[in-house]
C-alpha cells in the first residue's frame, strides 16, 4: 500500500536503507518496477540525497528508513531540510503498535524526536489511515512554505491490509496556506517602487521554492524596473549571474557592492528571504535609512528579526504576478534620474573589485581553482552542490548561476557532509548532466561512505575537493577572533584520496600544481563515472570579503589590507 501511495504521488525515486521494522515495505519495493530505490550507505545520506533531488527538480524527495537508529540518523537531514525549506517525505518503520513503549529492540520515540525538526509528523496507528496519511504528508510537505515531514509506520500496520484511499478521494486538508498577497499592500509596494531613489531587490530561496515561473516573473520585474538585485546564498540562480542588474550575493561573505547597496538603499524589497543573521549582521545598524517590504509565504517570517514597513504574506509567484500587473497598469513608472545616480554609486563600489586575487607561484589558491572550474564548466549542463565552509563561500562567489535549481547547498543549518549525498540525489534526477560537488576535505569525509552508493548506481558525480588539510572556516575564525589559537582545526591523518577513490572502484585524481589544474579538471569532466579530484590548495587562505559579526554592512573586511600580516605569520607557525 505504501508503494501504491508513492506511485499515486508520482514518486520515481526513493532513497533508503532497510532494517527490521521496515521489511514489509521493502518486500513491496522488491515486487515492483515503477519506483527506483537507491540504497545509500547511511540514513543521513539518504535524506541529503533526497534534498538534492528535491532542490534540483522542485519535486518532493522521498526517504525510506527503519526504526530506531534509522530514524535518529535521519534527524540531521530533517533539520537541514526544515531550515532550508526543502520538501522531503520521510517514511520510517516503527516497532509494532503493541510493543511501543516497551523499549523494544530498535525502538525510539521517532515522532517525539523529530517533532521539532519536521514541519509535521504522524504516527500511523491503524492501516485504515495509512494511505490518507501519506497523501496528507505529501500535501503538507509541498504546500505553503515547503519542509520535511515524517510518517512513522509500525510494523503491524505495514503487515495488515485495509482499503486504499486514492489521492483524489482524500478529504481536503484544512492546511491551506494563503497564496495571494493582500492587494492594498501590493499597491503600497508599487507606489514605493515608483518613487524609490535607491532601491534594491533582496531575494532568497523562496523564489526558487515558488517554482520556475516565479524566477521568470522576478526577471521580468527586475529588468522592467532596472533596479539592482542581490540574493542570499539560497536564492542564487533565480536571477542570472550574467544579468546586468545582478550585483552579487550579499551577507557575511557577500560582495562589497551588494552589502553596501543593502546598507545605503532607501527601498529594500525582500522577496522570499528571511533576514537571516548571516545576512543582516548587526541588527540595530541594518540598512538604517530604508523602507522595507517583505514578501513571504510564512507569516512567522515577517517581523521576526527586522521590522518591515510593507509586509505581504503570499506565494512569491502569485505576489510578483500581481505586483507586475499593478505596476504595468499604472504606467511602468520609476524615478529614472535617481536610479541613474544610484547605479553610478554602485559602479563606484564595483570598482573595489572585492573578489580580485592573484594566482602567483605553483601553489593553487582556492579562488583560482574555482575560477578555473567556472571557466571550464560554465557551458555544460551543470549542477553544483557544496559542503559547508570556506569552499562553499568561494563557490558562491566565483561560480555563476544562470538558472534556478542548479545550486544545492546547506544554508540554514550549515551541515558539513551535505554536499556529497546531495550530489547523488541530483545526479539521480539528472542522469545526463554534469553534477559537481565542491567540497572541503573535512566536510567531504563526514559522508564519504556514499562513495559506495555512487559506484553501485553508476552515478558519475564529480567530487571537487579543495584540500587545505584544515577546517578552513574554523581556522579563519580562530585566526581573526581567537588570537590564532588553532584549537583542533586541522587534520593530521587525512587519507590518500586517490587510493580512497580506487578502493571504492572509482577514479581519483590529485593535483597540487597550478599549471596542472586545467588538465585535471578536464580529466574529471571527461571521465564517465564518479571521480574524486583532490585539489591541494593554499593552506592558510581566508575567505573575503567578510562582515565581522556584530558589525553593519558597511564595515566589511576586504582581505589583504586588513589581515595580511596575520595570515603571513600564522602560515609559518602552523604548517
Amino acid at each position: 500500500m505504501v508503494v501504491e501511495c508513492l506511485k499515486d504521488q508520482g514518486v520515481e525515486v526513493v532513497f533508503g536503507y532497510p532494517g527490521g521494522a521496515v521489511l514489509p515495505i521493502y518486500d513491496e519495493v522488491f515486487q515492483q518496477n515503477g519506483i527506483r530505490h537507491i540504497l545509500v550507505r547511511h540514513e543521513q545520506g539518504a535524506v541529503h540525497a533526497a534534498e538534492g533531488y528535491a532542490r534540483s527538480t522542485g519535486k518532493p524527495g522521498v526517504v525510506l528508513v527503519t526504526s530506531g537508529p534509522g530514524a535518529t540518523n535521519a534527524v540531521t537531514g530533517l533539520t537541514d531540510a526544515l531550515l532550508d525549506s526543502i520538501p522531503i517525505v520521510v517514511l520510517t518503520g516503527q516497532v509494532p503498535t503493541f510493543m511501543i513503549g516497551t523499549d523494544a529492540f530498535q525502538e525510539a520515540d521517532t515522532v517525539g524526536i523529530t517533532r521539532p525538526c519536521t514541519k509535521h509528523n504522524w504516527l500511523v496507528q491503524d492501516t485504515e489511515n495509512l494511505s490518507s496519511t501519506i497523501h496528507e504528508a505529501f500535501h503538507v510537505a509541498t504546500t505553503g512554505r515547503p519542509g520535511p515531514v515524517l510518517v512513522d509506520i509500525p510494523k503491524d500496520v505495514q503487515f495488515a491490509s485495509a482499503g486504499y484511499t486514492p489521492v483524489k478521494q482524500v478529504s481536503t486538508s484544512h492546511y491551506q496556506p494563503q497564496k495571494k498577497g493582500d492587494m492594498a499592500s501590493i499597491e503600497e509596494l508599487v507606489e514605493a517602487i515608483e518613487t524609490a531613489k535607491k532601491p534594491v531587490f533582496y531575494t532568497g530561496g523562496g523564489v526558487i521554492n515558488s517554482g520556475t515561473a516565479a524566477s521568470q516573473l522576478l526577471r521580468e520585474l527586475v529588468d522592467g524596473t532596472g533596479f539592482p538585485i542581490t540574493s542570499t546564498l539560497m536564492g542564487l540562480g533565480a536571477y542570472p549571474a550574467s544579468g546586468d542588474k545582478w550585483i552579487g550575493m550579499l551577507g557575511m561573505h557577500g560582495l562589497y557592492e551588494a552589502n553596501m547597496a543593502m546598507h545605503d538603499c532607501d527601498l529594500m524589497i525582500n522577496i522570499g528571504a528571511r533576514f537571516d543573521d548571516r545576512i543582516t549582521g548587526r541588527i540595530d545598524a541594518f540598512s538604517p535609512g530604508s523602507k522595507k517590504a517583505h514578501i513571504d509565504i510564512d507569516p512567522s517570517s515577517i517581523n521576526k528579526v527586522i521590522r518591515v514597513d510593507i509586509p505581504i504574506v503570499g506565494d512569491v509567484g502569485h505576489v510578483l504576478e500581481d505586483v507586475l500587473k499593478v505596476w504595468k497598469s499604472r504606467g511602468r513608472k520609476t524615478d529614472r534620474a535617481a536610479l541613474g545616480e544610484w547605479w553610478n554609486t554602485i559602479g563606484e563600489w564595483r570598482k573595489v573589485d572585492c573578489l580580485k586575487f592573484e594566482q602567483k607561484g605553483s601553489v593553487i589558491r582556492p579562488q583560482h581553482a574555482l575560477a578555473r572550474l567556472e571557466a571550464l564548466t560554465k557551458d555544460h549542463d551543470r549542477y553544483i552542490c557544496t559542503e559547508v565552509g570556506q569552499h562553499q563561500m568561494w563557490a558562491a562567489q566565483y561560480l555563476g548561476f544562470e538558472d534556478p535549481h542548479r545550486w544545492m547547498t546547506s544554508g540554514g543549518l550549515g551541515t558539513m557532509g551535505y554536499g556529497f549525498p546531495a550530489s547523488i540525489g541530483v545526479q539521480m534526477a539528472h542522469p545526463d548532466s554534469l553534477v559537481i560537488n565542491v567540497a572541503g576535505e573535512a566536510s567531504w569525509l563526514m559522508n564519504m561512505q556514499e562513495m559506495g552508493t555512487a559506484v553501485q548506481f553508476r552515478l558519475p558525480v564529480k567530487q571537487f575537493i579543495l584540500n587545505n588539510e584544515r577546517l578552513g572556516m574554523v581556522r579563519q575564525w580562530q585566526e581573526l577572533l581567537h588570537g590564532e589559537r588553532y584549537s583542533h582545526s586541522w587534520s593530521e591523518a587525512l587519507p590518500d584520496f586517490v587510493k580512497l577513490a580506487e578502493a571504492f572502484g572509482a577514479k581519483g585524481i590529485k593535483v597540487d600544481q597550478a599549471e596542472d589544474l586545467d588538465e585535471a579538471i578536464k580529466e574529471m569532466i571527461a571521465h564517465d563515472g564518479p571521480v574524486i579530484l583532490d585539489c591541494l590548495v593554499e593552506k592558510h587562505e581566508n575567505c573575503f570579503p567578510m562582515i565581522p559579526s556584530g558589525e553593519p554592512h558597511n564595515k566589511m573586511l576586504l582581505g589583504e589590507a586588513s589581515t595580511q600580516d596575520a595570515i603571513g605569520t600564522s602560515g609559518a607557525v602552523l604548517v
Binding site: 517533532r115 543582516t280 512567522s300 585566526e479 577572533l481 573586511l557 589581515t563 596575520a566
Partner: protein, 188 residues
C-alpha cells in the same frame, strides 16, 4: 594578535549578534487556540514555547468538540510585543492548529480560573477563614474539624488575593486550573 582588535566583552567574539534587539516592555496576553484533538498536539504547542524560549504563565487544555475532535487550548504568555506577535505566527504555523486568537487585543473578554485551597486550622483562624471565604464567595467542598477545602472561581488576580489572605490562616495546599477565556459578545 587579532586582526579585528576585539575588546573583551564585545559581541564580536561570537558569530551571532548578542545584543538584545528589541524593547523589553513586557506584556501579558491570553491566547485561545482551537486544535485537532490528536496525539502529540499539546507537545507541539509546548515544544514551540520551550524550543524558542517563550514563556508560559498558564495553560489549560480540554476537548470541546468530541465528534469533531477539537480541543481548545488557552495560554497566558508574557513577552515583548514583537515576541507576542512571533508566538502567534509560530502557533499558526503548526499544522493541527486551526485558529489562534489573541483575546487581549481582539476586543474585551472574560477570563476565569478555578482553584481549590486547603486551609488547616482551629479556633479563631478557622472562623476567620470561613468569614473571608464568604466575602470571596468561595464554597466549602470538603470539611473536617481541622480543615476546609475551598473552591473559588474568578480572575487570576482574585484567586491570588484570596490565597494571600488564606496564607496566614493555615493555607497548606492549592490547586489551580489555569485560565479559561472567551471573548465577550456574539461571535459574528
Amino acid at each position: 594578535m587579532s586582526a579585528l582588535h576585539i575588546k573583551k566583552g564585545s559581541t564580536k567574539h561570537s558569530a551571532y549578534n548578542l545584543r538584545p534587539q528589541f524593547s523589553d516592555v513586557q506584556e501579558t496576553h491570553t491566547l485561545a487556540l482551537v486544535v485537532d484533538n490528536e496525539a502529540g498536539v499539546l507537545a507541539r504547542v509546548i515544544g514551540l514555547f520551550s524550543g524558542r524560549g517563550y514563556n508560559i504563565d498558564s495553560l489549560t487544555v480540554a476537548e470541546i468538540d468530541h465528534a469533531g475532535h477539537r480541543s481548545r487550548i488557552t495560554i497566558v504568555t508574557t513577552g515583548t510585543p514583537q515576541v507576542i506577535e512571533q508566538i502567534k505566527a509560530q502557533l499558526g504555523r503548526i499544522v493541527p492548529v486551526h485558529s489562534v486568537n489573541d483575546l487581549t487585543v481582539e476586543g474585551r473578554s472574560v477570563e476565569r480560573e478555578l482553584a481549590l485551597l486547603k486551609v488547616e486550622g482551629t479556633g479563631d483562624k478557622r472562623v476567620e477563614a470561613m468569614r473571608l471565604a464568604d466575602i470571596f464567595r468561595a464554597n466549602v467542598v470538603d470539611s473536617t474539624l481541622e480543615s476546609f477545602v475551598f473552591e473559588i472561581t474568578g480572575t487570576p488576580e482574585k484567586i491570588d488575593a484570596f490565597a494571600e489572605l488564606m496564607s496566614p490562616l493555615g493555607l497548606s495546599e492549592i490547586a489551580r486550573t489555569g485560565v479559561a477565556a472567551l471573548s465577550r459578545g456574539s461571535v459574528g
